[in-house]
């Protein structure tokens, strides 16, 4: 067996240590410098309330603040939220968790000089939760539990909920919820922010050359203080450079045209960078709040038969797949319906009880063959709809084809460009089994698992499962974490083991190799999170 060289292991270990909070805690932050980073996607508009791509978040998020956010010093925790524009701790909820009162900071000003008040927060959340007719709001559905949002003082905002919900606070913390000025919304309209920027973030907008870069400079009036007692940010500015090709983003870091790419690279790219630059590269790694599934189309025979779906899941050697696929693709962790590191996620002992998650692959596959025979679907032939993106879709798709072959299922993989793939999956439902994915920002299991409901807008399986809907309804109203955990197992067993509405593969794995002089940034379980850049400094 060949072991990686010490040259490779040392920086990797240092990076991992950093990601778990062992490094970067000293108050020796240096001020100044421009952070150049590369972004692999494009900016549709600047309006966080209507967009859903990291291509917008990475360059634009630093111009804005949010009411609360994932703790930038502890982003690995899926439950550690802190105030950004509010004061003190994130409210715990009153009146049986149906009322949340946020005290707003009094020292915040928008980049145009307008002071921030509760009315700005209220106007922002009204736009997100109750948009006027014809105004889009991509995250409206996350706030179905909200009854009202009102300013209850000049610096106090109160959210009232229709029912208690564990997904409320994580929804508020989503990085897309940029706080806009009420004055801008009233005077310039609800679409002004698509092409204009006026926030309270750590950086002010300098210029955007579409297709090329976005430039921001330090906002002197930013409301968070640095470790040295002076206002953040530490950087003088940043430049987010658009670079659609992964190879070029990698070379840009190698050639120091960019210091970091916040989305993530495959393992091979990490290894190449470390091999070429040694300790000049630091690697941070994390589980990623994205999962790939194979979704059978239950409108078609024989996929309407739970035995066939179960057989397809039983065929997968997830534990073995994790070992090998994690060496070539951005997937790694075996998990159920909940993000693996969350308290609501299944433990390994709980997971192995689910169909297809057991470690005895031979027995699983024997059972799969039996189920296929019983369902009259021996020698099943099917078309597998996949997305024409290498990482990780095509890699995982090829693995799935091989796994199904082990139980005598012949699957023909059709790799389609994204528009065609979406049309087959969403619009036309023209597939036997399709790759499908769930990729969220803040880890919010109660909201994220709606993906498994046949009634959900982003579920393409074509099924109706009233039992599962009822379980979810109970989950939604469960007050304590303990209660939620029990119901979540019930939900998981129904969705993945009894009915096998969707066939989970592996959770994604985020790998961020970056120049070692970039300090203060900690990897989060999502490429949407921890992008305010206010804590980053350059050790040059």
């Amino acid at each position: 067996m060949k072991f990686p060289s010490l040259k490779f292991v040392v920086p990797l270990a240092a990076g991992l240590a950093l990601s778990f909070g062992m490094a970067g805690t000293a108050s020796a932050q240096k001020r100044g410098g421009i952070l150049n980073f590369v972004v692999g996607s494009k900016i549709p508009s600047y309006d966080g309330h209507i967009e859903g791509t990291f291509g917008m978040i990475h360059p634009i998020r630093p111009f804005y603040s949010t009411l609360i956010r994932v703790n930038p010093d502890n982003p690995q925790s899926p439950t550690d939220f802190i105030c950004d524009l509010c004061v003190g701790d994130v409210p715990k909820g009153e009146d049986g968790f149906t009322k949340y009162v946020f005290k707003i900071r009094e020292d915040v000003k928008f980049h145009d000089g307008t002071p921030l008040t509760a009315d700005d927060i209220t106007a922002t959340y009204k736009k997100i939760i109750f948009p006027p007719e014809g105004i889009a709001s991509a995250r409206k559905a996350f706030f179905k539990m909200v009854d009202s949002v009102e300013s209850t003082g000049k610096y106090e905002v109160t959210f009232k909920l229709k029912f208690p919900s564990g997904s409320f606070i994580p929804s508020v913390a989503m990085p897309f919820n940029f706080v806009y000025s009420k004055k801008d919304l009233d005077e310039k309209g609800y679409t002004w922010h698509k092409a204009n920027i006026n926030g309270t973030g750590a950086f002010t907008f300098v210029q955007h050359q579409p297709g090329s870069f976005v430039e921001g400079k330090k906002y002197a009036g930013y409301h968070h203080m640095g470790a040295d007692g002076k206002p953040k940010p530490y950087l003088d500015g940043y430049k987010a450079i658009s670079a659609p090709k992964m190879a070029l983003r990698l070379q840009a870091i190698r050639g120091d045209r960019a210091a970091i790419e916040f989305r993530g690279f495959p393992p091979k790219a990490r290894d190449d960078l470390v091999k070429a630059l040694g300790d000049k590269i630091t690697v941070q790694e994390s589980d990623w709040n994205c999962a790939l599934f194979a979704t059978p189309n239950q409108r078609r025979k024989p996929f309407d038969d739970a035995r066939v779906r179960k057989a397809l899941s039983l065929a997968l050697d997830r534990w073995g797949g994790s070992k090998y696929l994690s060496q070539i693709a951005i997937v790694k962790t075996v998990g159920g319906v909940v993000f693996p590191n969350h308290p609501l996620a299944a433990t390994k002992e709980e997971l192995v009880k689910l169909a297809g998650f057991g470690t005895d692959v031979k027995a699983n596959r024997k059972e799969a063959r039996r189920l296929l025979k019983e369902a009259g679907a021996e020698n099943l032939k099917m078309v597998f709809n996949n997305r024409g993106v290498d990482q990780p879709y095509k890699v995982v798709g090829t693995w799935l084809i091989d796994q199904w072959k082990q139980i005598g299922v012949e699957a023909e993989q059709q790799v389609n460009p994204s528009p065609v793939f979406y049309a087959k999956l969403r619009k036309k439902s023209d597939f036997d089994v399709s790759i499908d994915f769930n990729c969220q920002s803040v880890v919010n299991p109660i909201a994220d698992v709606t993906k498994f409901l046949g009634s959900a807008g982003n579920n393409y399986g074509g099924y109706k499962d009233d039992v599962l809907e009822k379980i979810y309804d109970r989950l939604l109203r469960a007050g304590t974490e303990k209660e939620q955990r029990v119901i979540m197992r019930e939900f998981e067993t129904r969705a993945l083991s009894d009915q096998v509405h969707m066939i989970p593969t592996l959770w994604w794995y985020k790998i961020n190799p970056h120049r070692s002089y970039v300090k203060g940034w900690k990897i989060a379980p999502s490429h949407y999170l921890n992008q305010s850049l206010d804590q980053i400094w350059l050790d040059k």
């Binding site: 590369v38 494009k42 549709p44 508009s45 209507i50 967009e51 859903g52 791509t53 990291f54 014809g134 105004i135 889009a136 709001s137 991509a138 409206k140 559905a141 996350f142 698509k194 092409a195 050359q209 579409p210 297709g211 090329s212 430049k239 450079i241 658009s242 670079a243 659609p244 090709k245 070029l248 070379q251 840009a252 190698r254 050639g255 120091d256 045209r257 070429a276 630059l277 994205c290 460009p417 994204s418 528009p419 065609v420 793939f421 979406y422 049309a423 969403r426 619009k427 036309k428 994915f437 769930n438 990729c439 969220q440 920002s441 909201a447 709606t450 993906k451 959900a456 807008g457 982003n458």
Partner: protein, 323 residues
Amino acid sequence: MWQYILKRLFLMIPTLLGAAILIFFLLRLIPGDVCEIKLAGAGLYVDQEQIDICRKNLGLDQPILVQFWDFFSGFLTFDLGTSMWTGRAITYELALRFELSLQVAIMATLTAILIAIPLGTISAVRQNTWIDYFVRAFSIAGIAIPSFWLGIMIILGLLIGTQAWFGTPWMPPIEYVPLWVDPWANLSQLIWPAVATGYRYSAVATRMTRSALLEVLREDYIRTARAKGLKEKLIINRHALKNSMLPVVTVIGIEFAFLMGGLVVTEQVFNLNGLGKLFVESVTNQDFALTQALVMVVVSVFIFTNFVVDILYAWLDPRIRYA
């Protein structure tokens, strides 16, 4: 002549209309639309209601003929509309990239000329010698090697070479700076794609120069020049080369037109924010409005170029009868 010009001008209208119909309806044959890609492309949860609002705002819910009329009438009045992806005016999107594409096209053309004319001439003059074989192999390699592959090799070579020699890897800048703002940064970014593209371009021109020159060198007036004792250098430069340039100039002209918007892959490799990259982005985003506008602009350029060439032919060579 005027009758001919008018006739050609009128013929442009059905050509443009045909191109407009083709591109409009071919794009609609591709399943999916920009709203799906924009809102659901990243895997985040999105309500169908939001996709419907997006479609309505972009006019995608209108009957197809209404959409076509909006597009074509806009084109006739030089209003290319707005990009479905960014919401910005398409003329702005094009103008932003035009300068870079034009500069790369000019630099690649200059590179090609500087390589092709001397090599093609030497190859012809020293026909069937080792120099000729070398030049032919060099030009065949230029045609065979894709520009984007050469581009990747150039970047990797620079990274590896500079690290080996100076200890720190260097690569060309990845963001565009106009020539008049910072000439050094501008040239250090654009010289490499110009070389990668110019090499392939020069290969075609070298072969054309060689064959055209060989043909001219066999003409009677060249034999006469030699017979009357003129120096070989004078014969080549003054009599042969000049007269062999017509097909070479034609090839260079066509290639130049192609470079404006045709450097799709090379622009990706060097991260150039040019028209070719915009083309790719508009197609992958299903930004119909932008793709249609880009295609119509390219079609118009080609139609106009052909028109000018036809007129020039008629003017240059009276033997060509059009009427």
